[in-house]
């Protein structure tokens, strides 16, 4: 992002502000599906000097996901209006001539984040508050009516059988597109299993699509904001729970590094008032491992085919043995 162009853009978006300045614009790591920039916005309004920390998210030239920035912005906006813990979205720009590629600007929430499982070094009191918020926010998300949130744009499944079928077909198609003619017998078998064992949802909810440890900002008081809404869609409530509780994000009995897995499930049942359907949960944990493996293949392909120069992408290969091993265990292939 260019500082001068960004400043001019924000001046147009904030005509009431004078002396507007973009300070300390820098690209930051994280949010691999978009280029992410941090900066401070300074301006004078009603005679008062204002400062606000900001994030700019711009479409990448390549990367992990092919997602729609308008969709992501609309979802964050709807979640913000519904009172969920998300950064406040401010401006969406789809005109690529403004900053070479579409982008959006949102408030930069405070707090820290991690790569994956909740850091084991954090105090237990923080871990338990984050765990409680993590499940609590998921329960709130799943209690929302997507129509009231104006999120029909996400495409409502026609019936309760559709969510499993649609997600399986979606990720299987990307697998076929991005495997670069390589063969992954376990992944091929996993998609065959998913097609042969579809589950039926009990309702249609807003699905975050990447609800896991590592995708939130937190401090000692709990979660401040849930991040990375670019894979949001409508589907089965078990999908986010299955993804969040995958062994991959925790690698031990602590789901996401947050809470012992069975306690995690009990807390979910308590907060949602809905019993967990273990068959559906298992289906979405299998789908989750397959989906994550496919996301790795997409990143690798974009690196190999020079759509991205992000040096993290080739390391995605290192995640495959774990994901394929988890799938093999789930499907009793070893």
């Amino acid at each position: 992002m260019d500082q001068l162009r960004l400043t001019e853009y924000l001046k147009r978006k904030m005509p009431h502000a004078s002396g507007l300045r973009v300070v300390g614009l820098k690209r930051i790591s994280g949010g691999s599906s978009r280029e992410t920039y941090a900066f401070e916005l300074e301006w004078i309004e009603d005679g008062n000097q204002r400062t606000r920390p900001m994030i700019g998210r711009r479409d990448p030239t390549g990367g992990l996901l092919k997602s729609d920035r308008e969709r992501e912005f609309r979802v964050i906006d709807a979640m913000h209006r519904a009172g969920l813990k998300v950064p406040e979205p401010l401006f969406l720009e789809l005109d690529a001539s403004v900053m070479d590629r579409p982008f959006f600007i949102m408030h930069r929430a405070p707090g820290q984040t991690g790569m994956g499982a909740f850091p084991a070094a954090e105090p237990e009191s923080t871990r338990l508050k984050v765990a409680n918020d993590f499940i609590g926010e998921l329960a709130r998300l799943q209690s929302l009516d997507y129509r009231e949130c104006g999120l029909e744009i996400l495409g409502a499944p026609k019936n309760l059988e559709d969510p499993a079928r649609i997600q399986t077909a979606h990720w299987n198609d990307i697998y076929e597109r991005d495997r670069m003619d390589e063969q992954y017998p376990i992944l091929t078998a996993a998609f065959a299993w998913l097609k042969a064992n579809p589950v039926v949802s009990d309702r249609i909810v807003i699905v975050h699509g990447d609800y896991r440890s590592g995708n939130y900002l937190y401090d000692e008081n709990g979660i401040i904001a849930m991040l990375d809404w670019e894979m949001a869609h409508l589907g089965d409530p078990m999908e986010d729970l299955g993804w969040a509780s995958m062994l991959f994000w925790g690698r031990d009995e602590f789901a996401g590094g947050l809470m012992e897995r069975e306690a995690f499930y009990r807390l979910y049942e308590e907060k949602t008032g809905n019993p967990i359907d273990r068959k559906r949960l298992f289906f979405y944990q299998v789908l989750g491992n397959a989906k994550m493996a496919v996301i790795c293949l997409t990143g690798i392909r974009d690196f190999v085919e020079r759509r991205t120069s992000d040096a993290v992408m080739p390391f995605l290969e290192l995640l495959l043995p774990q994901l394929l091993g988890d799938l093999a265990n789930q499907l009793r292939l070893v």
Partner: protein, 150 residues
């Protein structure tokens, strides 16, 4: 021997990044990318050394596994499952010079699918599971068992 060797070259490039580039980089993003590039070079060195043995072991194991399944005889491969055709393709691929690894892996994907769907005979499934277990172990040795929490 040509000097620098490949390993010496890679190690030198890592030093260049650490000693010459890193001190000049002010952006945290650029610093992270430089660190990843150092890791990428280390990974490349390890792969260059280990990949030939990994590939050879994979081809040998696929060939041995399909040969073992073939010895079981057609009665263990139901016509309906399509595995007889997959085995014939795998056998042809394994006798090519050099062996057609992708074709063998494609056939293995069919066998793995049959096992996942409970459509494979127990004795066939045992051979497939044996191969998959060894394949995963070789992958872990080559690439490590990384996860986001690692």
């Amino acid at each position: 021997m040509l000097r620098p060797t490949l390993n010496e070259l890679i190690s030198g490039m890592q030093r260049t990044i650490i000693e010459a580039l890193m001190p000049e980089l002010t952006s945290p993003y650029a610093q992270n990318q430089a660190m990843s590039a150092i890791g990428m070079l280390a990974h490349a060195a390890a792969i260059l050394e280990s990949a030939p043995a990994y590939d050879a072991a994979e081809i040998k194991d696929l060939r041995t596994t399909f040969a073992a399944i073939k010895r079981l005889g057609d009665k263990h491969l139901s016509k309906k499952s399509g595995l007889r055709g997959a085995l014939a393709r795998a056998t042809r691929a394994s006798t090519k010079a050099p062996p057609d690894r992708r074709a063998m892996e494609a056939a293995m994907a069919e066998f793995t699918t049959a096992v996942a769907l409970g459509q494979a005979d127990d004795r066939v499934a045992r051979h497939v599971r044996g191969y998959l277990g060894r394949h995963l172990e070789r992958s872990r040795v080559l690439l490590g068992g990384a996860s986001p929490s690692a």
